[in-house]
Amino acid sequence: MNLKSLWPSLLSRVLPPVLAVACAVVLGMLIVLALRLNPFAVASEVFTTASMPPVGLRDDVGYVLAYATPLIFSGLAVAVAFRAGLFNIGGMGQIMIGSLCCGLVGWKLAALPMLLLIPAAIAVAAAGGALWGAIAGALKAWRGSHEVIITIMLNFVAVALTDWLANGPWKDPHGMAAQLPAIAPHARLARLGTYPVAAEGTPPSLGLPIPGYVPVNLALPIALLLAAAVWVWLWRTTAGYEHRAVGHNPEASRAAGISVKRVTLRAMALSGALAGISASDLVLGYKHTFRQDDAMGYAGQAFVGIAVSLMGQNHPVGIVFAALLFGALQHTGVLLKTIPKDLILILQAAVILFVICGNEIFRRLLARRVRPA
């Protein structure tokens, strides 16, 4: 493929989300104006707050990355299902189950050495998420139940199930909340940042110039690796070829001898696994235990993951950038002082709306210009 033919396709992919963000920014400014405030003053106030000494913007960069990490996982989960023509909105339940599994392994298998314990905890988290996704996949493939309904329902089941387990049989006897005992210290994933003084009980850290209290951790590189793996799987493997074929045209796929049932089951399992691995961030990198209420708040971010996937055009590269943008939006919400933080929710919603509309409008404009007949 030469550069000439690559350029328009790249442009048609990148331009709509960029335009959408621009439109959303304009809308946000109009809202701020409607509150009788100067949008530029608000922006400079946010920037001043963010760049306050002693750490300046370094903790803000860290927070944006920390907020982006779970969004990459859940965005990838949505995208993988979507590429097979399925809509997985059960990321929340899959993260809950994955996190519980992760916390359980980190606690119960503390005897394992670190190099076995961490992979085991992540693998079991993936398996838990995969199982939760596969339930919806199997019901869809063999019973024709709609995956949207099933995954929503399974979200509630997951919340109730984890609440019972973390409050009952596996409850930490010393904990106040519904939570499991802490994971083994050597199961913790290193923070990316630096602690001024490495005190007893602080998690391991990598020493990048980010303050140690920012919870961004090794789950971020894991997420980036997964994004690359998803791309390779979807576009370079025979299974990925079948996966996308079913997503585009299940009838033709079936007629060509592809088992649509198997692809559906596998798609939901993989999607659930990607959501489940989010536990590496929450449990191994951040909270160091499974606490039910924390997990619920965290897993709720899976719904933002739908928007991330949409904005990223269900493509791993797009998802990483969209996750960073939504992460930045969320962090900006923390920094806002003079205006309601709800503005951030409005902006998120506006970005999504503009992406959906913008894509369609731009696609039609392009189609009108290119189509000869």
Partner: protein, 498 residues
């Protein structure tokens, strides 16, 4: 008296494509004029210019002698032009009268005057002999009647020139006759009709004159009655085209496919046999079980009872993979639904279903080199245009999509070929190619089962013809002794003469 339509030196360019180049087109008032050409010849572009959907890059358009300065549908409608699109634009939940009056509703105060609308539409349909109940909902109507509503809609807006875009593509033979009657009555009342088509038969049946376009340019305008189908075809394609299928006598050997007492949905005790080296054609009015039979013979539908044996193996309950292993190749009924993944490239479509072969996959990864090399080879051999392996299959013309499917299926080296409507919606040039490919497979010793809605195609290609009616095979005749009349009788449910 000026011509109804005069288009002189029309030029319309799109990025990378010149759709119309120096096109001259003129239609006299009160005639039925055909605009013919292969897909992509520029017919639709030219008509979209006339209807104001596109502004031309050059040239003059005159309607009843008056030059068009503004190009918009509103201006075209004001000048007396109406267009009936190939895909109807009706609101299914509204009534006929409501649809016809949409956008110009008669009112009583702020309210819609339903009674008056129905009276007006009734009078209109009376005047032009377009009989349809003004109070009926669109969703209750047949396709033929929906088309009448579209024509009424155009007439209600005062059209004196009607453009019909491939109006017969969606109609049954009976509905086509009704449409012809409607067009004749419109002509009798002084209306001008422009009829876009690529079917040669109907050009000669209904039109006065015809204009041929090829690759965006005018080839010529001739009187329909004085021009043979072969001459029109040659003008369209640019070279002599054989409308007959040339083949030698079949030399069938042992049976490849045996169907015994097959029962399934819509199928009632079907028994038939396809031998190696012959083409068995299935004739029949659509909806008499052909679709279900095709599904049973490709693993997409399980038999309720009976036997379906391919190459000695009972496959009555097997899925598509087992059928393909046993030697099946399929040209499916609906290309974009069953045959292709429209969003995939031509190269990806050329391996669909064969992508698990060791040639195309190793250790789970796609072997892109082999895929692309074979795609280039197949594109060349089957003359797929444009010869580009990376374009989306959806963007190809119908004929080229069909060539992609045939290229893929024949590279399975089948022993049994199931060909469903192999030339439906395909250009004349490609029809000849596809027919030759099917006959070549037969000569190689493949058993071919052909299902086609066009009786003439079944008669031209087949060695034996089985007639289906009401889910049964009501007769099998040798193609040499078959004639249209006796087959027609069988298709309508009559008993075989012998």
């Amino acid at each position: 008296m000026p011509s109804a339509v005069e288009m002189i030196g029309i030029e319309k360019r799109f990025p990378r494509v010149v759709a119309n180049h120096d096109v001259n087109f003129s239609v006299e008032e009160g005639e039925i004029h055909a605009l013919v050409g292969e897909n992509g010849a520029g017919k639709s572009t030219l008509m979209k210019v006339l209807y104001g959907l596109y502004a031309p890059d050059g040239g003059t358009v005159r309607v009843f002698g008056k030059e068009m300065r503004e190009f918009s549908p509103a201006a075209a409608i004001a000048a007396g032009i109406g267009m009936v699109h190939q895909h109807f634009m009706l609101v299914p939940t509204l009534t006929v009268a409501e649809n016809v009056m949409l956008g110009m509703e008669p009112r009583r105060g702020p309210f819609f005057a339903r009674g008056r609308a129905e009276t007006e539409v009734g009078a209109l349909s009376e005047k032009y002999g377009l009989r349809v109940d003004p109070g009926a909902r669109i969703e209750e109507l047949s396709v033929g009647l929906e088309q009448r509503v579209e024509i009424l809609k155009v007439l209600a807006r005062g059209a004196r020139i009607l453009i019909l875009d491939e109006p017969t593509a969606v109609l049954t033979p009976q509905e086509v006759e009704d449409l012809y009657a409607t067009l004749r009555s419109l002509k009798a009342q002084g209306k001008t009709v422009i009829f876009i088509t690529h079917k040669l038969k109907e050009v000669r049946a209904i039109t006065d004159r015809l204009t041929v376009l090829r690759r965006g340019a005018t080839v010529g305008t001739v009187a329909s009655a004085e021009t043979s189908q072969e001459q029109i075809a040659e003008m369209m394609v640019g070279r002599p085209v054989s409308l007959r299928v040339e083949k030698t006598a079949a030399m069938p050997t042992a049976p490849v496919l045996e169907v015994r007492h097959l029962c399934a949905e819509k199928l009632n005790d079907v028994t038939l046999e396809v031998r190696a080296g012959e083409i068995l054609g299935i004739a029949g009015v659509e909806g008499n079980g052909q679709s279900e039979l095709l599904e049973c013979l490709s693993g997409l539908r399980e038999a309720e009872s009976g036997e379906v044996v391919l190459g000695g193996e009972d496959l009555s309950a097997a899925g598509p993979p087992a059928w393909f292993r046993a030697g099946l190749a399929v040209i499916p009924e609906d290309r974009l639904k069953r045959g292709l993944v429209g969003d995939y490239s031509v190269a990806d479509n050329l391996v669909l279903g064969r992508h698990r072969l060791p040639r195309y996959t190793s250790t789970g990864f796609v072997r892109a080199g082999a895929r692309d090399a074979d795609a280039e080879e197949l594109i060349r051999r089957f003359d797929v245009r444009p010869p580009e392996k990376s374009v989306e299959a959806r963007s190809l013309s119908g004929g080229n999509q069909q060539k992609v499917i045939i290229a893929r299926e024949l590279s399975r080296v089948p022993r049994f070929l199931l060909a469903a409507h192999p030339t439906r919606g395909v250009d004349i040039g490609a029809i000849e190619f596809i027919h030759k490919a099917i006959v070549a497979e037969r000569d190689r010793g493949v058993g071919v089962l052909l299902v086609s809605a066009e009786l003439s195609e079944v008669m031209a290609l087949s060695d034996r013809i089985a007639v289906m009616y009401g889910g049964r095979i009501v007769g099998v005749v040798s193609a040499a002794s078959a004639d249209e009349k006796s087959l027609g009788l069988l298709m309508a449910g009559g008993k075989a003469a012998s």
